[in-house]
Each structure stands twice: as structure tokens, then as C-alpha cells.
């Protein structure tokens, strides 16, 4: 059942994207590790980490697209899910530092020693084990999304109202994580990581492996989301997006449909955050900034919401642009980003991939239109393939 479910996900564009991602997962580490630094094809380590960061952003955008593009839920809380996943990973990395911190306390991270704490808070227990931390990376954002969504969708908080309260949720978390008493390092967050799974986090090999992990995880999530949106459940998602009450009157429990997508999406965002933190080496409350969540929305919009490749393309385009822009003309980046928001919503509502897709679809339809003039040419039935 699962395999047939996953098999359904492969159409040509997904197949190509997955192939590219798997190829990158092998090629980039190889070019980084196996070529000499002066080799023309050498990829420096800082670029490996930078691209790895883009891939985690792409995963975050993909997660948002599942709820926004396919179900019409504009969540402004995805940066929060991302950050929570990041904090879970950060807590594991902090525990790995052990006695090598500035204060040399084997149990307590530096900031706790600094705050004069004597014991590890209860919620820090277990994070010395990778499997536990990995579980928390999906469970914590998932649980928050589940509880939040359970209440919000049941009371039919919709549209912009949902956007506003997800933003309020993010804002509340931002304020909370800034507090030292929360036990997450306050203002400074978690940083100065040393090891991950016993490997030096600064080493080229580890960086390359993290890149490969990000690319493969993105490919995996792409296959998963593709399978989901192609299933009947995916059609229901779109139905909810387009005509929520019609879906309800057909007997679908819209709140359950939304809740599943929202929770799953939050979990994917958490994974993205967990892959992000070891590659940038820090997680702090700034990641909860409400502005960050909205930026994710614009990546998705630029690439094309409601398509699966779009958010990936959008995240990489916008962040690549940001890296170049902020280096060249730092003053103008916010103008460019702000302009992007306005222009995309006004002139490119389907995004780059959506617009290109529509163009090709039109071309194909024209070609088919010419072919259809010959008699007995039946249109291909989409379901027949299964």
C-alpha cells in the first residue's frame, strides 16, 4: 500500500528534481573533498554550507507550500516550527559539547553555568542522545501545530485571521525564547557547537555530509509531498482551498484534513530547522522573527505556490539573490525584497514555475488541439496510469 502510494508521486518533473538533488548530494561533496583547493571545479567549504543552507530553506518553503499552495492556509508560523526543530537540534549539539565548554561543566551548557543554575532543567534531559533529539525535531513542532491547529480549525478560524493568529503565536514564542528563564540561552541562543554524532562540526567532511543529508532529505520530502498531493487526499486539500464549505457539505471533515497537512508541514519545517542549525552553527530567538515567516511565503510565491518544484526554486533564487545583493549593495536588499513582494503578488501570482508550467501546458494543448482534428483521438485519461 505504502509503495503504491509513493510510486504515484513520480511524474517527470518530480523525477528530474529528485535526480538532480541526489546528483548534487554526491557531486558537491565530491568536488569539495576530492579536488585540490586550486582545482577549477573545487567547491570551497563555505559554499557547501551556504548551498546546504539554501536546501534547508527550500525544504521549509516546500513545507509551507503544502499548506498554503495546496490547502490555502497561509501560515505565518512556519519560521517558528523551523526554529523549534532547530532548537531541538541545537540542544543535542549543546549537550555534545560536554566538558569542553568555557566553564568546563560536564553536564550544564555554558549559559546555565553563567546563570548560576545547578541542575539541568527537565526538558533538557534526553537531548544527549541523537535519536531522542531527532524525534523531538519532528515531535515538538508537530505537537505545537497539532494543538494549535486542533483549536483553530475546529473553530473555523480561516484566511487572514489564521495568518494573524499564527503570527501572534510566533511572536509569543519569540518573546518567550528571549527570556533567560526559559532555559534556551536567551538572547544569545545556542552556539559554539563542537561535534555532531562524534564528528567535528567544523570539518570539511562533516559539512559535506550535512549538505548531502539536506539534499537527500529534500528529495525524500519532495517524493512524500508529491505522493500526498497526487492522492485523493491531495485532491481534497485543493478542494478545501477552492471551496471549503462545498467540501464540508460533501461530508469531509475539513478540520481533520487541514490538521493533518498542517501538522505534517510543521514537522517538515522542524526537520529543515534541524538541518539548518549545524550548518550555520547557531540558533537564536531571532529565527522566530515574524518577518522570517513572511519571507518564507515570498520564496514560495516567487517559485510558484501549488507547484512542488516552485518553492524549491523560489527559496534558492531569493536566497541566492539575497547573498549576492547583501554583499554588493547591502542598503538595497530590503528595497529589492519589498519590491519582490509587491511585484510577485501583482504580476506573477503563479510564480516562476507556475507561469512556466501554464505556458507549456498551453503549448501542449495547442499541439493536442491540432492533433485532435484527426478523428477518434481520445484524450489521455489521467487515472488510467494507476
Amino acid at each position: 500500500m505504502i509503495t503504491s502510494f509513493l510510486m504515484r508521486s513520480f511524474d517527470r518533473s518530480i523525477l528530474i528534481a529528485v535526480a538532480i538533488l541526489v546528483g548534487l548530494a554526491m557531486l558537491v561533496p565530491a568536488l569539495n573533498l576530492l579536488t585540490a583547493p586550486d582545482h577549477p571545479l573545487h567547491v570551497p567549504t563555505y559554499l557547501v554550507s551556504l548551498f546546504g543552507k539554501y536546501l534547508t530553506y527550500a525544504l521549509l518553503a516546500l513545507a509551507l507550500d503544502l499548506v498554503w499552495g495546496f490547502c490555502g492556509i497561509l501560515s505565518l508560523g512556519h519560521a517558528a516550527f523551523f526554529a523549534l526543530g532547530g532548537y531541538a537540534m541545537g540542544m543535542y549539539l549543546m549537550r555534545q559539547i560536554g566538558a569542553r565548554g568555557s566553564y568546563g561543566n560536564p553536564l550544564l551548557p555554558d549559559f546555565m553555568v553563567f546563570l548560576n543554575w545547578k541542575e539541568l532543567p527537565w526538558f533538557w534531559h534526553g537531548f544527549d542522545m541523537f535519536w531522542f533529539a531527532a524525534l523531538m525535531v519532528v515531535l515538538v513542532p508537530g505537537l505545537l501545530a497539532f494543538v494549535f491547529g486542533w483549536f483553530a480549525f475546529r473553530s473555523r478560524v480561516n484566511g487572514v485571521y489564521l495568518s494573524i493568529i499564527t503570527q501572534a503565536m510566533t511572536y509569543a514564542l519569540l518573546l518567550a525564547f528571549f527570556r533567560n528563564d526559559m532555559g534556551f540561552g536567551g538572547n544569545n541562543g545556542l552556539t559554539d557547537f563542537k561535534d555532531i554524532l562524534g564528528f567535528n562540526i567544523q570539518a570539511n567532511g562533516t559539512r559535506a555530509a550535512l549538505f548531502a543529508a539536506s539534499a537527500l532529505m529534500l528529495a525524500l520530502c519532495l517524493i512524500l509531498t508529491s505522493a500526498i498531493v497526487r492522492s485523493k487526499y491531495g485532491k481534497v486539500l485543493v478542494a478545501v482551498r477552492d471551496a471549503e464549505s462545498r467540501t464540508r457539505f460533501l461530508g469531509y471533515r475539513v478540520e481533520h484534513i487541514k490538521l493533518f497537512a498542517f501538522t505534517l508541514s510543521a514537522m517538515m519545517a522542524g526537520i529543515a530547522g534541524a538541518l539548518y542549525v549545524p550548518q550555520v552553527g547557531i540558533i537564536n530567538p531571532g529565527e522566530f522573527e515574524p518577518g522570517n515567516s513572511i519571507e518564507v511565503v515570498i520564496w514560495t510565491a516567487v517559485g510558484g505556490r501549488g507547484t512542488l518544484i516552485g518553492p524549491i526554486v523560489g527559496a534558492i533564487l531569493v536566497n541566492g539573490g539575497k547573498s549576492i545583493f547583501t554583499a554588493a549593495f547591502p542598503e538595497f536588499w530590503l528595497f529589492a525584497l519589498g519590491g519582490l513582494f509587491v511585484l510577485v503578488t501583482l504580476f506573477l501570482p503563479k510564480g516562476v514555475v507556475g507561469t512556466a508550467g501554464a505556458y507549456f501546458a498551453r503549448r501542449r494543448a495547442e499541439l493536442r488541439g491540432q492533433a485532435a482534428e484527426t478523428p477518434n483521438n481520445l484524450a489521455v485519461e489521467p487515472m488510467a496510469a494507476e
Partner: protein, 254 residues
């Protein structure tokens, strides 16, 4: 009146008694009582603001009544259930404005409406069986849309959207179908065909039609209920109702 219709409760398909609801002091329904028998095709007429749509909202769980009883099949209390639950019980509803899933194909619209398990995981792992395929083909034929199965619903004409929506209701296999102004905006030919379609549908289930078009109602040739100011004004054959002086005053005009 309550006593007389009270006796019909166990055998009725739909039973409303003393239903009232108000919005900000405006009484949309005022102690409305109304019964539909199994297999019945019923037409409802009434001026704007008579409470026709509100009545449908109450039956389908979109609005909760302030007071009164609403029972399905004599024993199921509809006031305690929400839209999805009521739809699963077998009550289908067609909106005044045709509402179909515009970014899905005609086929997918029908597949979504098909009366199968509707949970998250059932839909996630759903596979189209030969039986389901045959059923969809059958409905496509009924609503005369087989050639357009792969077109996006957004590209259909207004009348075709109405039919697709009726087709979706058929796929839902309801025992009671509520239809709100099915021929609004249709051409005369389409109206006549819709009347035939509805009569065909009513052979196997109960249908309640809200309509302004008196010609259409005459064509249906069924029992008519006239609502005004949230209550039943008159009930009976079309000739009986349209000769009622209160109905003429309130609705038809002289």
C-alpha cells in the same frame, strides 16, 4: 399544528418543528414546522427573506436553531451535528450559486463526491476501483457530461456547472437532496432538461427544491410549500397554493 405533525415524526424522512432562529434581532425563521416524507419531491417557494436558505442552513448544520427540533429519519437529531456529519448521514445540498471545485477536472469533482470513506488516511491510500470507475461513468452519462470529463470545472458554462454539482450530489448518494434555485440563470431549454433530471433523481430519493421560477415548479408538478417571514404560509398542490389569497398577497402579487 404541533400535535398533528408530531404524529408524522417516526415515519418522516425530515422533520422540523417549531424552529426559530434570529440574527441580531431579525427573526429569519419563526416557529417553522415542515415535514418531508421518504421518496417525496417537494418544492418550496417564497419571497426574498422568507427563510428558505436559512432553513437549508439549519437542516445541513451550518446554522444552529435558537429553538425547535430538527430530526432526520424520525430519530437522528440534526441540531447536534455539523455539516460533515450531516452530509455523511445522507443529506446532500446544492447551493444557490453553483459551487464546484474549479481547479479539478469534472472527473475529479465526481470522484471527490463519491460516497466512500472520507477520513484522512482512507483518502490518502484510496485507489480507484473498477466499481467506482463504473459509477462515475454512469453519473457522467446521467448529467450528460461524459465528453468533458477531463476538462477543468472552471472552464464549464454556468448551466454545466449546475449539472456537475447535481452530479456530485448524485455521487454522494444522499437520501435527501436539498436543491437551492437549480435553474437560476439557465436558458429555457436547460431549465426543461433540469426538471427532467430532478424528476429522475427523485425516483430513488427525497428532494427538496427551492425555486422562484413558477413555470419550473409547475413542470415538476409536485406538492408546494410557500414560506413567508420564516413560517409556512400555505402548503399543497401548485394550483391550491397559487390561489391562496395570502400567497398572492405576500409573494405572487395580484
Amino acid at each position: 399544528m404541533n400535535q398533528t405533525i408530531g404524529q408524522t415524526k417516526p415515519t418522516s424522512l425530515l422533520y422540523l418543528d417549531g424552529v426559530s432562529v434570529s440574527f441580531d434581532g431579525f427573526k429569519a425563521l419563526n416557529a417553522l414546522s415542515f415535514v418531508v416524507e421518504p421518496g417525496e419531491l417537494r418544492a418550496i417557494i417564497g419571497p426574498n427573506g422568507a427563510g428558505k436558505t436559512t432553513m437549508m442552513d439549519i437542516i445541513t448544520g451550518k446554522t444552529r436553531p435558537d429553538e425547535g427540533q430538527v430530526f432526520f429519519k424520525g430519530e437522528i437529531d440534526l441540531t447536534k451535528r455539523d455539516e460533515a456529519e450531516i452530509a455523511s448521514l445522507g443529506i446532500g445540498r446544492k447551493f444557490q450559486k453553483p459551487t464546484v471545485f474549479e481547479s479539478h477536472t469534472v472527473w475529479d469533482n465526481l470522484e471527490l463526491a463519491l460516497n466512500r470513506k472520507r477520513g484522512v488516511f482512507s483518502t490518502l491510500f484510496y485507489r480507484l476501483t473498477a466499481e467506482d470507475r463504473a459509477r462515475i461513468e454512469e453519473i457522467l452519462a446521467t448529467i450528460r457530461m461524459s465528453p468533458r470529463r477531463d476538462d477543468l470545472a472552471a472552464n464549464l458554462s454556468h448551466g454545466q456547472k449546475q449539472w456537475l454539482e447535481i452530479g456530485m450530489l448524485l455521487a454522494q448518494e444522499p437520501e435527501l437532496l436539498l436543491v437551492d434555485e437549480p435553474v437560476a440563470g439557465m436558458t429555457d431549454a436547460e431549465t426543461a432538461e433540469t426538471a427532467i433530471l430532478l424528476k429522475e433523481i427523485a425516483k430513488s430519493r427525497s428532494v427538496v427544491v427551492v425555486e422562484h421560477d413558477m413555470g419550473f415548479i409547475r413542470e415538476l408538478g409536485v406538492k408546494v410549500t410557500c414560506l413567508a417571514e420564516g413560517a409556512v404560509l400555505a402548503e399543497g398542490s401548485i394550483d391550491f397554493v397559487s390561489s391562496d389569497p395570502k400567497v398572492i398577497e405576500n409573494y405572487l402579487g395580484r
